[in-house]
Amino acid sequence: MTRVHLGATPPPASALAIATDIINFRARTSKCPAAVVELVTPAYVLQLLDPKIDISSGPARPPMTAPRPALVAHLAELMGGAKVGPAPSIVAVAIQSLLHKLKSEADVDATVALAHLDRSKRQDIYSLATRGLSPAVASSLSQDFAQLLQTMCQPVNDSDGNGKMYLLPPYGAIISAMLNVQGTVLGQSRDRRGHVSAC
């Protein structure tokens, strides 16, 4: 099996150039109000999507979004699809819609995934979601589990230039909200058909 891992965030300069191409295309082809076109610049969209990983002190608050091309294109599409309304409202609705989609889909997936893992692996993944994974910790994980996590991670350098692996948004935010430090799943339910979902 050949695996192609998608969802990595480009370096800032590339992210801006890619966002510019995508937003300019949308501005040319959509019929949204001029005020929206004026407000929704590439820099503005990146600012909306840019993760703010605070790894300097205390528990991190992992981001729900990242300025990766597919998210930029989706957000631009949501905003470009609006026909009427003030620009700030259109942007707010688009962001809410994006976050709802990310959360609703990731919730189910993460809940099932966590139910399949044992407690020690859930502790590892909680640590990864909240603090990132240093190379030293990564080497202590089983090879299979480390490989599995790699499909969902991207390296990020902290302010000291030390690289750590972080879960791709929105998984860090979703999983850190579902687990505690002991690896206990905080809420899950099954519907009448036995399907697992987050509480």
């Binding site: 192609v4 998608l6 480009p10 091309p69 989609k101 997936d109 390296p155």
Partner: protein, 372 residues
């Protein structure tokens, strides 16, 4: 309409001397009916085996009634069910078979039964001599008609750098520019090239979080890249089977839907002969065989099946138990195992964490005991 007289009488009045053996055969093999006599024949449908078949109402048997009789028979019905019968060819071998089955030369002497012409009229008009009292009839299914290929997609290198420091590649899709990192681009190209030495590339899994471009790659980029490759290198005509599993649909319902879609594609392409199970559990068990059959029929007709499965995580997430999820995952693995020699497969699904986890934990015997 042919007069409803016994065939022997008709032949006595209209046939030349050398077709007399037919008269003997016809009158010795069945009772006279008001509409003609049953006729012994040996029939082959497409590339199948030659098998004896009694043609009912032979006196009035036209192309249409003969095909309908074959559809209603257990032996030939499977191959002819849901086929556009009006597009089938019905050929009668002029010289029959000198051996157990006709040679290529003997098959080449076939005469087509067309329109309202009856078998008797054809026998008379074409001076057909049955062998050992039997007519040899060949039915050819409609030629496969594959859907047109999508528009080719060409990527070009950009000066932008990805997270690994390599360049991005960009293509113009209808929805706007589409960017791919270099490593991912190279992997997709390797899959599209399908180098024989790179057998492992025949199964491609697109992994990543929600909104990372997976469906766009599966439904537009890969078909476009393959179409571009086909335009340059030729080879078998590519036939895309794109199927998206529905969210909240469990493994059995999902298998049934997929089997139904596969059969629908087979009908569209004119490569039928796929029997669809009627219950989900049977469908799940039969899914690898169904996909293999579809891939084989398309391959026999000069094509190559490209299986594109989207939202593969859905049946796994909706499975009532981990064991059911693992069973579905093992079904996917089986599809890959038995189809890889004549089909390529790409899968994706939002949030592959649990999907990969399940795929990984499927033991060889397909049983799953969980990890809790």
């Amino acid at each position: 309409m042919l007069p409803s007289a016994p065939l022997a009488l008709l032949l006595r009045d209209s046939c030349p001397q050398h077709v007399l053996p037919i008269r003997t055969v016809f009158s010795s093999t069945a009772e006279t009916t008001s509409s003609g006599l049953p006729l012994e024949a040996v029939v082959r449908v497409n590339g199948g085996q030659w098998n004896p078949f009694v043609v009912p109402r032979s006196g009035a048997a036209t192309r249409g009634t003969l095909l309908e009789a074959l559809v209603n028979s257990k032996l030939f019905g499977v191959k002819l069910r849901d086929v556009a019968l009006d597009e089938c060819k019905t050929l009668v071998l002029q010289s029959g078979a000198t051996g157990k089955k006709p040679t290529a030369e003997e098959e080449a002497s076939a005469v087509e039964l067309e329109g309202a012409e009856t078998l008797e009229q054809l026998v008379t008009n074409a001076n057909i001599t049955p062998t050992n009292g039997q007519l040899w009839i060949r039915v050819l299914l409609p030629t496969a008609v594959f859907p047109p290929l999508p528009m080719p997609i060409h990527f070009k290198k950009t000066s932008l750098r990805d997270a690994t420091g390599e360049c991005f590649h960009v293509a113009d899709l209808s929805g706007g520019p589409f960017f791919l990192e270099d490593l991912n681009y190279q992997k997709l190209v390797a899959w599209a090239l399908d180098h024989p030495a790179l057998d492992q590339y025949r199964f491609l899994a697109l992994t990543g979080p929600i909104k990372s471009g997976k469906p766009a790659i599966l439904t537009r980029v890969l078909p476009g890249m393959l179409a571009a490759q086909h335009a340059v290198a030729g080879g078998p005509k590519l036939v895309f089977f794109h199927f998206a599993f529905l969210l909240n649909e469990g493994p059995e319902e999902a298998a049934l839907s997929m089997a139904d879609s596969a059969a629908a594609l087979a009908r569209r392409c004119g490569v039928t002969e796929i029997v669809i199970p009627t219950t989900g559990n049977v469908a799940r068990a039969a899914l690898p065989r169904i996909m293999e059959e579809l891939a084989s029929r398309i391959s026999d007709a000069g094509g190559e099946l490209i299986i594109l499965l989207d939202e593969v995580q859905a049946p796994i997430l909706a499975a009532p138990t981990p064991a059911a999820a693992a069973l579905f995952a093992s079904t996917l693995k089986q599809i890959n195992s038995i189809c890889r020699h004549n089909a390529r497969i790409a899968i994706t699904g939002s949030g592959m964490l649990s999907l990969l986890n399940t795929l990984r934990t499927v033991p060889p015997n397909g049983m799953h005991y969980g990890t809790q």
